[in-house]
């Protein structure tokens, strides 16, 4: 970490902007200010070029034919898996399952693990900060088999109440599904300590890392969670690719999620023998191009250094928080001590959708709405919020434009 901090000074984060063609766009006649990174990030030219090269020179189906292209595509696809493994410090590359995204990864665990090992009356612990993707699958399981959901409450800052969390455990507790970083508020949960506590009760843990993977160093050996899920398109990769990490011994005892080609060893009409992991969970032709592009995105991020990215984004968050919280009539929702570069806010007397439309006319892209986290909105008694979420290619000048945009909204509605 010390080395990474030393590097920060040597990286020119303004220069990085020229790696992203889309950041040169004009929107509403103004330079694009893209502050919707928690929804989806933008793609650097190196990843775009990698996609083009794959489609022009390498595409074929994988794990099948003996011809040149199939072998090449297979090699590149599997190389991407190894890149993911190293990116998150997983013990083995077979612990990396490619999915369509975080949502599919969580659903895979619900079907493959939940249906087999969580039964009637068993309890699943979630937090009140979860994205719908880490609520609805467990609710579906509970409706199907009578399992019970227990929810960790938060304080007014948007931090999980750890004593209440610990008090939820009992002999019926069978699973903990928890976001690493809240998409709506930016809270970074103490997942390592919470995982250790759950393991102390013999409870396996899934972490939804969709908002964490793009912004910090990931270390599965250190976190020790049983499952970790994230999406490629929030970390400079394309849509349609995500990752489920699972400890090998967990993945091995799970049931397949989908049946089809590639996930079998042999098929007769009497019996099918399933393939070993990771193939067991990758039925059908996977998103080959997207997986290879995710590998290229990881190369790009590693070139900057995830520690550097985290440090720079933390600086942006500090600057934005200071400027926005100083504005009269603006309230920041989510003021956890440990936060990722996400600012959810409301402007007194103005609905977030009007905020979003007016900021758009200034070329500023933010997200407005419930952020697929309606329980969070209910907890903080707001129908919706406006949310600015930053990436390493954002600048303090862009935050100044956001502040000016918020003033414009206030003037219009005054």
């Amino acid at each position: 970490m010390r080395v990474e901090q030393l590097n920060t000074a040597t990286i020119n984060f303004d220069q990085i902007r020229s790696d992203f063609p889309i950041l040169g766009l004009q929107v509403s006649g103004k330079p694009l200010v893209y502050l919707d990174n928690a929804a989806s990030s933008q793609m650097p030219k190196s990843v775009i070029d990698r996609i083009v090269r794959y489609q022009n020179e390498e595409h074929s189906n994988i794990h099948r034919a003996v011809h040149y292209l199939s072998e090449l595509a297979t090699r590149e696809f599997e190389a991407a898996r190894v890149k993911v493994q190293r990116f998150m410090n997983a013990a083995e590359s077979r612990e990396i399952i490619f999915t369509r995204g975080t949502t599919e990864a969580i659903n895979l665990v619900m079907h493959g693990y939940g249906r087999a090992f969580i039964g009637k009356g068993d309890e699943i612990i979630l937090s009140s900060l979860e994205h719908h993707a880490n609520i609805v699958p467990w609710q579906m399981l509970a409706e199907e088999n009578g399992a019970v959901l227990r929810v960790i409450p938060v304080n007014d800052a948007g931090e999980l109440l750890i004593d209440r969390f610990e008090a939820l455990f009992n002999e019926r507790t069978k699973f903990l599904a928890l976001s690493h970083v809240s998409n709506a508020l930016g809270t970074i949960n103490p997942v390592k300590e919470m995982t250790a506590f759950a393991h102390g009760h013999g409870v396996p843990v899934l972490l939804d890392g969709a908002q964490a993977a793009p912004h910090q160093i990931l270390d599965m050996q250190d976190l020790d969670c049983d499952f970790y899920a994230f999406s490629g398109h929030k970390m400079c990769g394309p849509t349609g690719i995500g990752v489920l990490y699972g400890k090998a011994h967990m993945l091995e005892k799970m049931q397949p999620f989908m049946g089809g080609g590639d996930m079998i060893l042999s098929v007769t009409f009497e019996k099918t023998t399933y393939n070993v992991i990771p193939a067991k969970f990758e039925a059908g032709t996977p998103p080959i191009m997207a997986a290879i592009a995710l590998g290229a995105a990881i190369d790009y991020l590693n070139g900057i250094g995830m520690g550097n990215i985290a440090a720079y984004e933390h600086e942006l968050l500090g600057y934005a928080t200071a400027r926005i919280s100083a504005m009269p009539g603006v309230r920041i929702i989510g003021t956890a001590r440990n936060k990722a570069a996400v600012i959810s806010f409301e402007i007194k007397g103005v609905h977030p959708h009007d905020v979003g439309t007016i900021l758009n006319s200034e070329g500023i892209a933010i997200r407005t709405g419930h952020h697929c986290a309606q329980p969070v909105m209910q907890r903080f008694c707001v129908p919706a919020t406006a949310r600015a979420s930053f990436a390493f290619y954002n600048t303090k000048q862009e935050i100044d434009k956001l502040v000016a945009g918020i003033r414009k909204v206030q003037e219009m509605f005054s």
């Binding site: 009007d354 439309t357 919706a384 219009m412």
Partner: protein, 159 residues
């Protein structure tokens, strides 16, 4: 910015600040609720129809400026109108908001409701403007609850 200023005209901002006919009608004989699950806009409409005419109408709920102003102006415009006339306005407003009716060049009865013409250029906001009208249609025809999502989408294919 010019387009946006046009949409957020003083009249819309004024209706947002001071919505007219806000509340509910005692002894109403028609009710409907409309909601937009994507943004949380929520409108409750109550009205009293006498001799096929809208005798009184009121709304309450939560929403953005466009939704609230649309509801406020709508209630003002349809009060006293025959059900058939209100139905026609629902159609015309929907046409204007989705861009199939050009209120400056095609016959219509929209009058001051034309301030909402600008939403057609903001696809994500069309539903905000139409929700109250969709809810009115439901109340007139005794459907209790409508949503901007699903088969009954008021903005149809345009949103």
């Amino acid at each position: 910015m010019t387009d946006l200023r046009q949409l957020y005209q003083e009249v819309i901002l004024d209706h947002n600040r001071k919505p007219r006919n806000f509340g509910s009608i005692l002894g109403a004989n028609r009710h409907a609720e409309g909601h937009n699950p994507l943004c949380g806009d929520h409108i409750k409409l109550s009205m009293s129809i006498l001799n096929d005419k809208i005798d009184s109408i009121a709304f309450e709920g939560e929403g953005c400026a466009i939704c609230k102003a649309s509801a406020s102006m709508m209630t003002g415009v349809v009060k006293g109108k025959a059900v058939q006339e209100a139905d026609m306005l629902v159609e015309e407003f929907r046409g204007m908001a989705t861009g199939t009716l050009d209120p400056d060049h095609q016959d219509n009865h929209l009058g001051k409701l034309k301030v909402f013409a600008g939403v057609k250029d903001l696809p994500s906001r069309v539903k905000c403007a139409i929700l109250p009208w969709h809810t009115l249609h439901a109340a007139l025809h005794s459907e209790f609850s409508v949503s901007t999502e699903g088969d009954a989408d008021p903005a149809g294919d345009h949103a």
